[in-house]
Amino acid sequence: MKVELADHDGGAQARISGPIDADAEFGALLDGRWRELRLDLSGITMITSPGVRRWMRFVAEVPAGVAVRLERCPPVFINQVSLISNLLGSAQIESLFIPFLCPACEAIRDVLAPARELDASALPEVTCEACHARMELDVLEEQYFSFLKE
């Protein structure tokens, strides 16, 4: 796992990429100097069970009062959120990628959407870039958006 970290007005802006596994190291985000953690998770490729444990230890060790905002969460992360009840801890999902499928040409596309505007009746309308047909949601809403209920 790789963490690319930048200071953004006293908060950490970090891009996390690669597999979250037994080697995942979050120490740079826990050194006490950040008022806020904004984590871009779009580069995560896999989350294994040792990675789940390391991630949960990380969110549990974030000092009280430090907000953790998760941005550009990919399906591989959202899927684990739906399976592991305490994966988020106090972290908030700000935005996520939603898989869509074109019923005409079977093109697929992950569309970025802000979490706060999501509910079952207000999903983004997506047009296929290849054939211009209207794309369909390619996940089970109840499962994929289960984090919204928490």
Binding site: P19, D21, A22, D23, T45, M46, I47, T48, S49, P50, V52, R53, M56, R57, P75, V76, N79, Q80, L83, I84, S85, N86, P99, L101, E106, I108, E136, L137, D138, V139, L140, E142, Q143, Y144
Partner: protein
Amino acid sequence: MARGSARVLMVSAEDRGMEAAGHILQAAGHHVTELQIGAEVFKWLRMHHAEIVVVDLHVDEQAAAAQTELLAVVRQTAGTDLLVLIRGRDGGPAPTRGLFQNHRLTHFLAVGGDGTIDPIALTVTVAKILTRDIFGSERYLAASASEWTARVRSSGERAAVGDAAWAFALQSKCHPEIARAFTTAVDELVNNALYNAPADRAGKPRFSHLSRSTPVTLSEAEEMLLRLSYDGRRLCISASDPFGSLRPAQVLDCLSRCFTGGEDQVQQGDAGAGIGLYIIFNFVHHLIINLVPEQRTEVIGIIDVGRSYRDYMRRSRSFNLFVGRAP
């Protein structure tokens, strides 16, 4: 009765019954009796013997008392095994939490909303229950399946195995998220074989206490065999180790605990079957665990690639836990 055939009692909860499953088992040479759940079933069980009772369980509703009673009666009947068929409501996946928590089922197979069932999964499951000849993933796939195999001895090989699994899954032209799920399941199984399975002569785990970032190397006799297959419809993982250290009760306890989703769902420093098994169960459509205690474990995961990622998510999960004779 012909060799390899059995008397099968099929108990359905309602009129729509299990015609497809009944036809498949009859075609496989079994003697099938179909009854609707009720007093007639208990009367039949007092007067006849069935090697297998197949129950159509409605897990998406409050489990009816008759169903629960039937499961209990079958499980207490010597020489009778229980196979449960499950179907979800409105095309969604059947909830499986209660199957582990309430019923501690070791065999359940998914049925489509229209009553269809995978004939291969059904006939292979019944044959394995009857014969206790349990090992091998080939029988779940078409004979023409392409295959990639590796013998894994060292934690240093995990990255290369992961890359190979990813490339193998993509050959099927499946959705990238399905390829990620497949690759993650492979990684979990390799970690399990390297860290959780190895035990000393007294049965004590050798490496399960280690961080998964600590290197381990097994001897040649201890290596795991990993087989990835694809038959044009299904992606399959088979991971086999020569330890047989997984325990049936441990598997059911783990899945039951993880499905509860409580504070102890993820245990830090988890040894043995833990959240990894739960992740594999959810990432594949059919999880099969074959084991002979202290001799061999084989874990098989099958994904029906389907047309879309939504189809992959919607499909109900199947599960078998076989305890067999030595290969």
